[in-house]
């Protein structure tokens, strides 16, 4: 709980809801006749509506990217370290929009919402949505807010995939793209991790084939297990080693299956805490969106061919110890952009935190982001000064 709101915080923020009644045709073939998107904004939109930045969230993110909802909040938004007055994404310069993606569980229409056609919760019947669908829905939110062209669209991990999709799908609607710790498509190993996560949820007897709310149940074991697995892959071996080592709960081995090592306790806590704030169907759906994303499939696997449509300037950032979305994956995007002759810069940041690094205020990372966006703010993106 903040006693006072820090000077570099966006302060107390209130989520807003946008209602859409124009049907949205989804990649899977189904259509959403109406839906809501929950979002927050920070900073002020300028007269020409040219200073907007869209933040795309990752697997377990939401619209609450910065600031506090109430003075009693224990923590600020998930990317508060980067968004605020004077921060890397400077709300003195930019009007920042963060939304909860479609299919989410934090206010936007998703599996826990009511299906207007049946009056029942969607639950398992909620259609699988893709990165393309998200970008389409984000563009409609931009229309609603009167934003034709974003100064920048920024995202890490799965969020970075949305940024990449924006640059291909709506090339004239963004001046710059910031893609952090991401990939042009998942590796086989990544899909495999996602499948284990999904299976752990699906095999939980409390899952009820996805209709658990209807059955007054929550698949906490499955979702918790999925999160534990995910968490391991977001950290580096070194980071885990440094944090826990072989620290033990007791002085001696207990020779049972209770918690012996602190890392076990940590993972169990992370898994359990996650089940209190996240919906299992949403988690499954988000992992599918990750699996399906592969823009190069439109051009016979040629990433530079599909990226030749892009017109914005790119900044790519990766982290040395990230093995879930390794630097090599970011470099695939960089190389394809260079091949396509696009404006791109790339920074590989030394970090110990693994994939999670993209959420940490690592000084050089923040400096690179700030330098790039300051230049965007100065309106110099299309010409070298």
């Amino acid at each position: 709980m903040p006693d006072v709101i820090p000077a570099d915080s966006v302060g107390i923020v209130t989520p807003q809801i946008a209602q859409f009644d124009t049907p949205l045709a989804l990649s899977c073939g189904q259509t959403l006749s109406s839906y809501q998107l929950t979002y927050e904004t920070y900073g002020t939109l300028n007269q020409s509506a040219s200073n907007a930045i869209l933040i795309c969230h990752a697997l377990s993110g939401d619209h609450h990217a910065a600031g506090y909802h109430a003075m009693s909040d224990s923590k600020p938004g998930w990317w508060d370290t980067a968004i605020g007055p004077g921060k890397a994404i400077d709300t003195d310069n930019f009007f920042v929009i963060a939304l909860n993606n479609l299919g989410g569980c934090c206010g936007s229409t998703g599996p826990t919402s009511l299906n207007p056609e049946t009056g029942q919760r969607w639950e398992a019947s909620f259609p699988i949505v893709t990165v393309e669908d998200w970008v389409e829905s984000q563009a409609r939110l931009a229309d609603l807010l009167g934003i034709q062209t974003f100064a920048a669209i920024v995202g890490g991990s799965l969020g970075g995939m949305q940024v990449l999709e924006w640059s291909i799908r709506f090339p004239t609607r963004l001046k710059s793209a910031v893609i952090v710790a991401s990939a042009p498509k998942l590796s086989t190993q990544n899909i495999a991790f996602n499948e284990v996560a999904r299976q752990s949820i699906r095999r939980d007897p409390d899952f009820f084939d996805g209709n658990y709310i209807d059955n007054n149940s929550v698949p906490t074991n499955g979702l918790g297990l999925a999160r534990m697995l995910g968490h391991i892959t977001y950290l580096s071996d070194d980071a885990m080693g440094a944090k826990f080592g072989r620290q033990m709960r007791h002085d001696n081995y207990q020779y049972n299956y209770g918690i012996e090592f602190e890392v076990e306790s940590y993972l169990r806590y992370q898994g359990e805490a996650f089940t209190k704030r996240f919906d299992a169907n949403t988690y499954m759906l988000m992992t599918k969106a990750l699996d399906y994303f592969d823009p190069a499939s439109q051009t016979n696997g040629d990433l530079s061919a599909v990226l030749s449509r892009a017109q914005c300037e790119f900044l790519l950032v990766s982290f040395t110890t990230d093995w879930r979305f390794s630097p090599e994956r970011s470099e695939e995007i960089v190389n394809a952009l260079v091949k396509a002759g696009k404006q791109v810069s790339y920074a590989k940041i030394e970090a110990t935190e693994g994939h999670d690094a993209f959420l940490f205020p690592i000084p050089r990372y923040m400096a690179v982001l700030n330098t790039f966006l300051t230049r965007v703010a100065n309106g110099l993106t299309s010409e070298v000064k």
Partner: protein, 196 residues
Amino acid sequence: MRSDLEMIDEWVQPNIRVLDLACGPGELLHHLIQNKQVNGYGLEIGHDDLNTCIEKGIPVLEQNIDEGLQNFDDQSFDLVLMTHALQQFRRPDLLIDEMLRIGKECIITFPNFGHWRSRLHLALKGRMPVSDFLPYNWYDTPNIHFFTFQDFERLCREKNIKVLRWAAVDGQLKDHWWIRSMPNLFSETAIFHISR
């Protein structure tokens, strides 16, 4: 602008694709993007230099050249540049091969260690030369290969590399007749424009 950069500018055609290896703060690329409208990229690992490039809007990629350039396709650039850096890499000979694989042409500049002052320094003092231009001690210098104008010419001959043109200048970019007549002795910086 650094001494050799103006010379290079005269040799570069407009609107071409340029890769600048070890681009530093991007002075040359900045100039070529502005004046020659090139589609240019720099490679750099220095954090401050990377940030300076990003600040100026010069496309720059963090990549360690000593770890290879396999990510660039054969003949995918019109020109590959390297100014005052070849002496810092592990295998300059292999690097030149790579540069000529990636680029149709290359421009390389380097400090000529055969300059009379270096020779005199070593001959009279018996110690490795330290000058304004190469201000390091032998143990902390990033310049791990020292070579002369003639050494480079000879390597080109051995590798059947064409020297399209060369220039040899003193520390002040002056192109005197005596430098041109005896570049190995009088040039401080050598500039080679080469191709296969």
